[in-house]
C-alpha cells in the first residue's frame, strides 16, 4: 500500500534520518518513536508529500495516491465556524463520508452546533481527529494523535485505530505511548541517527 525506499531527510543542514525503508501492506501499522527532534514529524510530512525528501522515494500502490489522512500538530479548526461546519468542510472536500459519523466517533456529537472557538485544546484535537472517521481513507499518517487527549478520547482513538487496521487499513503513527496495537514495523529514529 505504501512503500518508501532509502528515504533521507535533512533539516537545516542536520541529517534527521537516512536510508529508511518502509513497506506497509493493508492491515499493517508502523510505529515511529524517538526523542523530541529526532525527525518523527518530518518523516510523516515526507510521507504525506508536504516535505521533499533529500533522497529516496515514496510510492503508493493499489489505490489512488491521495487516499490518506494526515493529522499533524495543528488541527486546522476554524474558530468562527461551528464544530459540525468545520468537519463538514473536510467531508465535502473528500466527496464522501459524513460529518455526523466523525463527531460520533470522537464523542463531539453534543457539541456539534457550538462555535469551535469555545472548544478546549483537547476538544479541538478531537475535532481534528474526527476527519479520520468522517471520511474513511485506507492510509492514516498520525503525528502524536493522542497529545492533549483525556483517557476516554485516547481510548476512542485506540479503538478507532484498531478497527481501521482490522478492516484492512494501514497507519504510520508517531507516538510516545503504546496505543495498544501490535505494529508490523517499529521505526526508532533516535537509534537511526546516533
Amino acid at each position: 500500500m505504501l512503500e518508501a525506499r532509502g528515504l533521507a531527510c535533512e533539516r537545516g543542514g542536520r541529517v534527521l534520518f537516512r536510508g529508511l525503508d518502509l513497506a506497509l501492506a493493508p492491515g499493517g501499522a508502523a510505529l515511529v518513536t524517538g526523542p523530541n527532534g529526532a525527525g518523527k514529524s518530518s518523516l510523516l510530512r515526507v510521507l504525506a508529500g508536504l516535505l521533499p525528501a533529500s533522497a529516496g522515494t515514496v510510492a503508493w500502490t493499489g489505490r489512488g495516491e491521495a487516499d490518506f489522512h494526515y493529522v499533524g500538530h495543528a488541527d486546522a479548526v476554524k474558530p468562527a465556524l461551528s464544530v459540525s461546519e468545520n468537519l463538514a468542510f473536510w467531508v465535502r472536500l473528500a466527496g464522501r463520508g459524513s460529518a455526523a459519523a466523525g463527531l460520533e466517533a470522537v464523542g463531539l456529537t453534543t457539541l456539534a452546533d457550538l462555535p469551535a472557538r469555545l472548544l478546549s485544546a483537547g476538544q479541538r484535537r478531537r475535532l481534528g481527529l474526527a476527519r479520520l472517521f468522517a471520511a474513511p481513507a485506507p492510509l492514516w499518517l498520525l503525528d502524536e494523535p493522542t497529545g492533549g487527549l483525556d483517557d476516554a478520547a485516547t481510548d476512542a482513538v485506540e479503538h478507532g485505530l484498531k478497527a481501521h487496521i482490522a478492516s484492512g487499513g494501514a497507519a504510520v503513527i508517531a507516538t510516545h505511548i503504546p496505543l495498544g496495537i501490535e505494529p508490523a514495523h517499529r521505526i526508532d529514529l533516535g537509534a537511526a541517527v546516533s
Binding site: L50, A66, A76, F89, R92
Partner: protein, 216 residues
C-alpha cells in the same frame, strides 16, 4: 470542481461570520472616499474630473487591508497542510479563495462605487463607466494581491511586506482602471486584458509560493 466549491463555500461562510477583513475593507473604502469631499470643501471645483481616480486609489488601499489574512489563517492553523496534501492542484484552492475574496470585497466595492462616485462629483453619465471599470478591475486587485500574500507568507512583517510588494504591481490596474472610468479609448479593453492575464498567472505564482511555505 468539488474542491473549488468546498473552499469557496467555506471562505464565504468565514467572511460572513467574522465580518473580519472583508467587511473592514469595504468600510475603509467608504470612509476613505467620504474624506475627500469633507477635506476639499463644498465647492465641486477641485473634485471635478478627479473623482473616479481618487476612488480607484482608495480602492487599492482598501484591497490591501484585506490581503493579510487571505492565506495566513489557513497556514497558521494547519489547514493549508491538509489542502496541500490533497491530489487536486493547489491552484484550484487559490482560485476558490480568490473568488471568495472578490465576492466579499471587490463586488461590494463595485456596488457602492456608483454612490461614492456621485458623492465625488463624477458626472451622472460617467457613473456607469465607473461601475464597469470596478467590475473589470477589482478581480485583478484580488489576484495580484493573492500572489503577493502567498509570497510573503513565511516572512516576518508579512503584512507590511505585502503592501510594499503589491502597491507597485497595482499601478497598471490603477492607470487603466481610472482611464476606463473616464471613458478613454481602449482603456477598458486593456483593463479587462490585464485582469485576464492575472487570472492566468496569479494562481500559478500563488500556488507555487504556498507550496514553498508548506515545505518550510
Amino acid at each position: 470542481m468539488r474542491t473549488f466549491l468546498a473552499v469557496l463555500r467555506r471562505d464565504l461562510a468565514l467572511a460572513g461570520r467574522q465580518g473580519g477583513e472583508s467587511g473592514l475593507a469595504l468600510l475603509f473604502f467608504v470612509l476613505g472616499a467620504v474624506l475627500f469631499p469633507l477635506g476639499l470643501g463644498s465647492d465641486p471645483g477641485p473634485l471635478a474630473g478627479a473623482g473616479s481616480g481618487l476612488l480607484w486609489v482608495v480602492a487599492l488601499l482598501a484591497a490591501l487591508l484585506s490581503l493579510e489574512r487571505l492565506f495566513r489563517a489557513d497556514w497558521e492553523d494547519g489547514a493549508l497542510d491538509l489542502l496541500a496534501a490533497r491530489p487536486e492542484p493547489l491552484a484550484t484552492v487559490v482560485l476558490a479563495k480568490c473568488a471568495a475574496h472578490w465576492l466579499a470585497t471587490g463586488l461590494p466595492m463595485t456596488v457602492v462605487s456608483a454612490l461614492l462616485g456621485s458623492m465625488l462629483a463624477v458626472p451622472g453619465e460617467r457613473l456607469g463607466l465607473l461601475v464597469l471599470s470596478f467590475l473589470a478591475g477589482t478581480p485583478a486587485l484580488t489576484l495580484i494581491g493573492a500572489a503577493a500574500a502567498a509570497l510573503t507568507l513565511g516572512a516576518r512583517l508579512g503584512g507590511v511586506l505585502t503592501a510594499i510588494l503589491v502597491l507597485p504591481l497595482y499601478i497598471p490596474v490603477l492607470i487603466f482602471g481610472a482611464a476606463a472610468a473616464e471613458g478613454r479609448d481602449g482603456a477598458f479593453a486593456l483593463l479587462a486584458a490585464l485582469t485576464l492575464a492575472t487570472l492566468a498567472l496569479a494562481p500559478a505564482v500563488a500556488s507555487a509560493a504556498l507550496r514553498h511555505a508548506v515545505e518550510q
